[in-house]
């Protein structure tokens, strides 16, 4: 059974070849009719020829008893030969027509095959693109899901870590490697006054937190990075950061630092 692509190709190409085949097919009966007419004409001429020869001979006074038969036999032989020649020619012509039909049929089959292959490739390409898009979409969604899960895990780690710190009284840090990286980055970001900007301080605090570190531990460890004269810029009261920092310093026994921060916040009207 032909594939959908072959049927499609046949539908597209078929009409062109069909009309040509029809035209060729019509040549066969036309050829046969032509040669039939030629043969009949030849036979008629033979009959008339015999009569003419006999009449002409009689007018000249030639009166052989067998003249009619001899002329008739001779003309019959000529008709026979002429008919055989016509027959051979007709067979050759029809063979040529059939040959053209065969070549046309071959051309059609090859064209259909080629077009079907092309149509199939196009269809498969479309399906491949759709599949690729489907996979990309699924991978993208999976990626988002995994990122959300990672966030949940990090948040849960932080909650558990904070709970442990609260119960044990101590502040927890992320892994040693992260801690060292953050320290190195803060050192690099120090200005001429030895402190980092509030923006860099809070950005690195975010990294610390996302890696499971306790914010209180960050504040106590990197107090040197803070310009305490502008404590209100580093510890945002509106998100509870000031309270968090003050609490951390108190717990760490650094009451003086806690007091400086509180004074700075009061002076800033916060």
């Amino acid at each position: 059974m032909a594939t959908i692509y072959t049927r499609q190709a046949q539908g597209e190409i078929g009409p062109v070849f069909s009309s040509q085949q029809k035209s060729l097919s019509q040549q066969v009966p036309a050829t046969q009719e032509l040669y039939g007419t030629l043969l009949a004409s030849l036979q008629a001429q033979a009959g008339a020829g015999t009569q003419n020869v006999v009449e002409s001979a009689q007018r000249r006074g030639v009166d052989r008893a067998r003249l009619g038969q001899d002329v008739g036999a001779s003309l019959d032989e000529a008709v026979n030969l002429g008919g055989a020649q016509l027959g051979a020619q007709e067979a050759e012509n029809i063979a040529n027509i059939r040959g053209n039909q065969a070549q046309l049929g071959l051309g059609r089959a090859e064209a259909v095959s080629s077009l079907a292959s092309t149509r199939q490739e196009q269809a498969l390409e479309i399906q491949r693109n759709k599949l690729q898009k489907r996979i990309q979409t699924a991978e993208f969604r999976q990626g988002i899901k995994e990122a959300e899960r990672e966030f949940q895990l990090t948040k849960r780690r932080g909650e558990i870590s904070a709970a442990k710190s609260a119960s044990s009284g101590g502040a927890s840090e992320p892994g040693e490697e992260i801690s060292d990286q953050i320290q190195g980055e803060l050192i690099t970001l120090r200005g001429s006054d030895g402190h980092v900007s509030p923006k860099d301080y809070n950005r690195t605090l975010g990294i610390w937190y996302r890696n499971g570190g306790d914010p209180a531990a960050f504040h106590t460890k990197f107090i040197w990075a803070v310009n305490l004269d502008h404590a209100e810029d580093y510890y945002k009261p509106e998100i509870g950061q000031a309270k968090e920092a003050v609490g951390a310093f108190i717990r760490a026994g650094k009451r003086k630092t806690a007091g400086i921060i509180l004074d700075a916040l009061k002076s800033a009207g916060r």
């Binding site: 055989a84 027959g87 029809i94 059939r98 065969a102 399906q127 491949r128 996979i135 999976q142 899901k145």
Partner: protein, 162 residues
């Protein structure tokens, strides 16, 4: 038993080559008939020629025993030679037609083979895509399941404090 591709290829090719072969084969009896008629004409020429020689000799008063035999023999030999040439031509024409029939057969077989190859290639292409699609979707599903399991493990580890 031919494969489905061979059957399909033959269907696509149609009856053209068979009809051409039949038409070529029809030429052979027509050729034979033509050369039979030509041979008959030669026979008639031989009979007429012999009669003319005899009538000519008799009209000149020559006795039968002195009828020029050479003329008759010459005529016979000429006819034989012409017959030989006719036979050669006839054999040549028929041989040409048979050769053409052979060429048509070869062309048909070649066409069928090419079409079969094309059909096989198309089928392989479809099968390959089907396989690729199955593989891709299986891989996607597997990765999804692995990710789910990994998340479940990680969650347990987190709860355990790791």
């Amino acid at each position: 038993m031919p494969t489905k591709f061979v059957t399909q290829a033959k269907n696509q090719l149609g009856q053209g080559f068979q009809q051409q072969t039949q038409a070529l084969q029809s030429q052979i009896p027509a050729i034979n008939q033509l050369y039979a008629a030509l041979g008959q004409q030669l026979d008639t020429q031989r009979l007429t020629g012999t009669q003319n020689i005899l009538e000519g000799a008799s009209g000149r008063g020559l006795l039968r025993s002195t009828i020029p035999v050479d003329a008759q023999t010459g005529l016979e030999q000429s006819i034989i030679q012409q017959r030989g040439e006719l036979a050669g031509k006839q054999a040549g024409e028929i041989s040409g037609v048979q050769q053409r029939i052979g060429e048509v057969g070869t062309q048909r077989a070649s066409a069928i083979a090419n079409l079969v190859n094309a059909l096989r290639a198309q089928q392989l292409g479809r099968q390959q895509f089907k396989f690729e699609k199955q593989q891709s979707l299986r891989e996607l599903e597997l990765n999804k399941r692995l990710s789910n399991r990994q998340f479940q493990l990680d969650r347990r580890l987190v709860e355990l404090g790791y």
